[in-house]
């Protein structure tokens, strides 16, 4: 963080003031791939919100007389085995994908960060119990954990979101705990304690804001992971109902017609890849711009 103390005697030692935001902006926008990723993400959000206006057809309308059409002028990516327009389904799939991943990350982030904050702040036995619990969660492969949670809760979009959220608690908890342990050592924490600030005020007012940068990076990078996980679950046919336009289940549907209708599997898979790539690039860009250890090397 920026030095705000003024040293009355030795002005020559003082560094020129650098705007944190300007430095962040310079590093963040200096890589073309990062900018590309950002544009893709913005385009996706627009697509998800305005899907009904962008999609040429209703993605749920079946028309068996027009089933399994090859790509043509009316159906740019062809139609599936129930006569639904592939392009429209890919566009609507953006909604499913973004909604599931954003909410799941929100759940995982809030629970994981609270646990990490408590573990790091109180230390001792609290830390030990929470961290061993995290270790236990980490020892289940995420997909498997989500599968089992989805099985316990039953199908449906809501339960897939909860399942993915639970599956991702551990990384946030770990990172948060590590951050808190290092932030806790700062002088301003001791000062806060000296004036008698309550535990809650210390945690929320002083420690949490100073832990944020790496958490934002993890949040962005995890978007890619959770989109892939959601796609894998829907590919396996767990949770999301077959009618919902989800990219993973579309790839699976197309698998049956692979030899004749490659586009049915290819298009949704490419969409997944593009989104995950965009989030990963933006995450990398954020890390370069926010990580103090990389300062000066870029």
């Amino acid at each position: 963080m920026l030095e705000k103390r003024t040293l009355p005697t030795d002005f020559t030692e003082m560094l020129p003031r650098v705007s944190e935001f300007r430095r962040f902006r310079r590093v963040f926008f200096s890589r073309r791939l990062v900018v590309f990723g950002l544009i893709v993400i913005l385009a996706l959000i627009v697509t998800a919100i305005f899907a009904p206006f962008i999609a040429p057809y209703n993605p749920y309308k079946m028309d068996l007389s027009r089933k399994l059409l090859q790509p043509c002028r009316e159906h740019i990516l062809g139609t599936d085995s129930l006569g639904r327009d592939t392009l429209s389904r890919v566009i609507y799939g953006t909604r499913t994908s973004l909604m599931v991943s954003v909410i799941a990350i929100g759940i995982a982030g809030s629970i994981g960060m609270t646990m990490g904050l408590l573990a790091g702040y109180f230390g001792g036995i609290t830390n030990m119990v929470i961290m061993r619990f995290t270790d236990a969660l980490m020892s289940f492969p995420m997909i498997l954990l989500a599968m089992v949670v989805a099985a316990v809760l039953g199908g449906g979009l809501k339960n897939v979101i909860i399942a993915l959220g639970v599956g991702m608690i551990a990384p946030y908890c770990r990172l948060m705990c590590g951050q808190v342990l290092s932030v806790k050592e700062n002088d301003y924490i001791t000062a806060g304690r000296a004036i008698g600030a309550s535990n809650l005020r210390m945690m929320l007012g002083h420690i949490l804001p100073n832990c944020f940068p790496p958490l934002i990076v993890l949040l962005t990078l995890m978007m890619g992971t959770v989109i892939l996980a959601e796609a894998s679950l829907s590919f396996l046919g767990i949770g999301i109902t077959p009618l919902t336009a989800a990219w993973g289940s579309m790839v699976n549907d197309g698998y049956k017609y692979l030899l004749t209708h490659l586009m049915l599997s290819f298009a949704p898979g490419l969409a997944i890849m593009l989104v995950v790539f965009a989030f990963n690039m933006v995450g990398d860009g954020l890390r370069d711009a926010l990580d103090p250890r990389l300062r000066g090397t870029l």
Binding site: A136, F140, M142, I238, G248, V251
Partner: protein, 318 residues
């Protein structure tokens, strides 16, 4: 060192206990009484209530939950994992048949991704900014975004259906027909390892670039050591430590990948067993399978942590 190993072992046992308690609780939260499932399975619906009570006592379901947990764990130590409702056979036998398949393909993927991932990362770090580095970095960035099931389907389309180089799918034990088995294993192993290769390469590259900036590397150059010696003796030794932690985490990742890839390639391993069990609501199998996979992952991480302590003396003392 011994104190460190003992401490890690105790932690490992502790984690395993939490894992088993979690699995037990989650499985008890499931809708449905296990006894009713048993009765439905054996077509005993006409049993009088007092016989049902007798069965309840016989299965230990009248005891309190902690006691049931103890019974369950004791059963696991005797090798009794229950009976599958869906497959109508002992869960232990089912797993004994399915686990070696996943273990075989998984270890091939693990070895492949360790070698290729580290090699790619090191080469790209050493040649930073050159075309080779750009190529490796781009490939790695794409590799961590590829949905593995999609890659599998595209590979089947290209190499099996169009070019006819490889069989479409299936699995044969390498002891039965080594050549066929290897040909069938090529695509699944590549799909299982792509993400792992790419993320290992990224991690290796960035941690090596970190090490290259250190003073002792500059000293090594100043001493006039050859590049080979500096890379092999000074850079790799320190730069690969974070990569080793990542390898431990990838054991779990490869198991997770097996769930999807075994479905794509129709391979009768643990992963597909888990999918079938979840879809068929076969809780005995889910319970045993997830516990076993967690056990393997915990053991793998224990080995990683111990080797970590052996490689990096700083770890032992904190």
């Amino acid at each position: 060192m011994i104190a460190y190993i003992v401490r890690r072992l105790i932690q490992g046992v502790f984690v395993l206990i939490i894992v088993s308690v979690l699995v037990f609780i989650v499985m008890r939260l499931l809708p449905g009484d296990p006894l009713m499932l048993y009765i439905a399975e054996h077509q005993l619906t006409l049993l009088p209530p007092e016989d049902i009570e007798a069965l309840r006592v016989q299965f230990g379901l009248d005891k309190s939950l902690p006691l049931q947990y103890v019974d369950w764990v004791a059963g696991i130590f005797r090798g009794d994992l229950g009976t599958s409702i869906f497959f109508r056979e002992k869960v232990a036998d089912l797993i004994a048949r399915r686990l070696p398949v996943t273990a075989y393909l998984g270890s091939l993927a693990f070895i492949l991704s360790t070698i290729v991932g580290i090699l790619a990362g090191v080469i790209s770090a050493v040649r930073r900014g050159r075309p080779l580095d750009t190529g490796v970095t781009t490939a790695a960035n794409l590799g961590i975004t590829l949905p593995s099931f999609w890659l599998g389907i595209l590979m089947i389309y290209l190499f099996a259906l169009r070019l006819h180089w490889l069989p479409v799918y299936g699995y044969t034990s390498p002891f039965e027909d080594f050549w066929l088995s290897t040909r069938q294993a090529v695509m699944p192993v590549i799909c299982l390892s792509v993400f792992s290769i790419a993320s290992t390469a990224r991690q290796a590259r960035s941690s090596i670039l970190e090490v290259v900036r250190q003073d002792y590397i500059r000293t090594a150059w100043a001493k006039g050591l050859r590049e080979r010696v500096i890379v092999m003796r000074h850079v790799l030794k320190n730069g690969l430590i974070p990569v080793i932690t990542l390898r431990g985490m990838h054991v779990s990742l490869i198991f997770g990948g097996a769930v999807v890839i075994e479905t794509v390639f129709n391979i009768p391993g643990m992963g597909r067993l888990m999918v079938e069990a979840v879809l068929g609501r076969d809780y005995q199998v889910v319970q045993a399978g997830i516990l076993l996979i967690a056990l393997v992952v915990v053991l793998a991480n224990l080995i990683v942590d111990i080797s970590y302590g052996w490689l990096d003396p700083r770890v032992r003392y904190d």
